[in-house]
Symmetry: C2
Subunit: 413 residues, 2 copies
């Protein structure tokens, strides 16, 4: 077991927190001036750790080990949401940095190669998962040319302002990485509620995002009798109630679905809404269940349209994201390390949130490890994790890292 340095870990996390700090929150939007400052700081820390560090053409900070042989890649992201916390993403990157240092310091592990990455724009300021997408070879040129942030700035212009135009993009080197490990805060309340300290991720859930648009007849809210109204908003409300009931029959306790947005048009108190949009997202670890929910929704829309009056139209907002199962052998390593470091205080669980790991898992065996989020809160300034859990998680990850690399070296030799 390779011992990590808890003070050094926490100190680096707190240093990183100063970039864009709103105390207690952090605003470090991808490729913003403060984000770039933090990336240069991170690259310096990687260099200090003996890694060959670069900031690549899309903003990913990549620290490459000089050690020969198969490498373990540890990473996450250091950009934040518009109202971000200090640990979402950042923790996993600093774990990687600390593990690279810890392994290098110990005679038994100093030959093991750990690469560390902070993937650019995981949070989608311009285009979600930009760094990991570019790394695995997804075409991103069109994204760079077309994507804009909320202020209308083009990604291309942001990259230029960041001084990254023409910088090489780090790409997956075939055969180099035996595994990808992404440690992360849970962003939910399950660990806290069950009194566990470590989550070993089984699956990253799949996601569907859909819109149902209801079209009726806009009318004067005073002069149009209820009996002849074709109120798109009232239709939406009735439909959601019906949908909630139907989904209850299909789901298990891990399934989640959310109506996160409703738009009534024109949105005036004196006007019967002529159009109403309902935005729905649902997530599940089971691909078949996601399909069943999608089919049920389509069926509800068909039934609704038979009734007449107001019409409903179902639209897919996003490519379906299928569930991604974490590598079984890597899960075992994380489970064994958890049991060694925190006996009885860990649990297997799905990830309800999306992560770079789901993209990288297409090319490298991937796994994830969670630590508890206080109150289950994330994407909020008050997001936090007990220091004890931060340190514990890093020790589990370091222990697993050694086991993974040793097994792989043994297998290759």
């Amino acid at each position: 077991m390779s011992k990590i340095n808890a003070d050094r870990l926490l100190n680096d996390l707190k240093q990183l927190r100063t970039f864009g700090s709103t105390s207690p929150g952090v605003v470090r939007l991808a490729l913003s001036p403060i984000d770039m400052e933090s990336r240069r700081w991170l690259a310096d820390r990687m260099s200090d750790a003996g890694l060959d560090a670069v900031i690549d053409g899309v903003g990913t900070v990549f620290g490459r080990s000089r050690k020969s042989g198969a490498a373990l890649l540890i990473g996450s992201h250091t950009d934040t949401q518009p109202t971000g916390g200090w640990l979402d993403g950042a923790m996993g990157v600093i774990y990687g940095l600390e593990i690279a240092r810890a392994l290098a310091e110990s005679k038994e592990t100093s030959h093991l190669a750990v690469d560390v990455a902070s993937w650019s724009d995981e949070e989608g300021t311009f285009a979600g998962f930009l760094g990991s997408r570019s790394f695995i070879g997804d075409p991103v040129d069109e994204t760079i040319a077309c994507a804009r942030n909320r202020e209308g700035q083009r990604l291309q212009d942001a990259l230029e302002a960041a001084g990254l135009t023409g910088a090489p993009r780090v790409r997956l080197e075939k055969g180099r990485h035996v595994a990808y490990l992404e440690p992360h805060i849970e962003q939910g309340g399950r660990l806290e509620a069950t009194g566990k300290s470590i989550g070993v991720v089984t699956t990253i859930v799949g996601i569907r995002e859909l819109r149902v648009r209801f079209t009726g007849q806009r009318n004067h809210a005073g002069t149009t009798p209820m009996s002849i109204r074709r109120d798109a908003g009232a239709a939406l409300v009735g439909f959601v109630a019906r949908m909630n009931e139907a989904f209850q029959q299909l789901v298990d306790s891990d399934t989640v679905w959310t109506v996160g947005r409703i738009d009534l048009d024109p949105g005036s108190l004196s006007v019967v809404p002529g159009q109403a949009d309902m935005y729905l997202q649902f997530r599940d670890a089971n691909a078949a269940r996601l399909r069943a929910m999608e089919e049920k929704l389509a069926e509800l829309v068909r039934d609704f349209n038979v009734e007449g009056g107001v019409s409903a139209l179902l639209m897919t907002l996003h490519e379906p994201e299928e569930p991604v199962t974490m590598d079984g052998a890597l899960q075992e390593h994380l489970a064994n390390s958890s049991e060694a470091v925190a006996p009885g205080r860990w649990v297997r669980m799905p990830s309800g949130a999306s992560h770079d790991a789901q993209l990288i898992a297409r090319h490298i065996p991937a796994c994830m490890l969670f630590v508890p989020s206080i109150g289950g809160v994330s994407h909020d300034f008050i997001e936090d994790t007990a220091e004890e859990h931060i340190v514990l998680g890093c020790q589990v990850a370091a222990t697993a890292a050694v086991a993974i690399l040793q097994e792989m070296s043994a297998r290759r030799s």
Copy 2:
């Protein structure tokens, strides 16, 4: 019976339509440059009709008869909604103009006094009913200092830009007006649906506008299990369904209620809404029923809060507007004139929309007359009324105007 000139009436309406025309619609927002142009044109038409015409300090165009004795005031408004039609308001004003001319042309009626008004900003570009409020002596100085349009322009600045700063405000002259008549398009589909051509208004309905705010807990839509969510949006949807059911027990076929706007916060697909606002308006001709609906809503909110999880808060958005009954004797005059001009083709009915008449009725006996709206449409570019109905309505109004003035003169002498 004083005969109106149909061609002159339609010609003036079509002339007025050219100011701000979008063919077929009209955009003539109160006090905008094009609205002021149309007011100057209208004042000229009033002068041509022998009235003493002014544009007053809030933008109302007022044409005062030079005839002695009690006067009938006929009016409505010539400003429009942001997507307005050509007749909403404008028709009633041009009816007044035509009736003043028609009465002046006939020997038997040339002694009768008809004043004509186009009240400023009925549609609330800055502040609804500005002109009629100012006319009846409501304090409007604070409104002028504080009200702004959607672009943020202050009413005070708009009045200055319109050249109206310092212009006197036309005020109700005690004892001058025996009655106020406001002819208007129906803005609903009742006349059309029942094959009638004229509506004699019994009551202008009262209005309540309220907001129910639901407060739960904002959370990650992927990592927060359904069982522990406090989803404000889901709570809102359930509440609306419950409210609709409860209202069904209280209403009659003329009651209307509308959820015109729903805001989920933060309105993102990936976030469980922590706050949700539901905007509700209801209208009825019966003051007791309005109170009963208000009490039912408060009761539903109390019951909801007992359940816990998400909390609900009821807020009044607007001063309650109580129903306003049209003067009984004037209703009789309109009914008699309708039966004389369009036998069997008229009906008594409430007005579901608000009108300047509801304010003026506090000081002068008031009545309203409706003509059919094609398809029940108003506040829309395609708003229209058959020319036959426009002419018929004006003839009914003119006939009633003579009867009202003759009866009043007889009574006074």
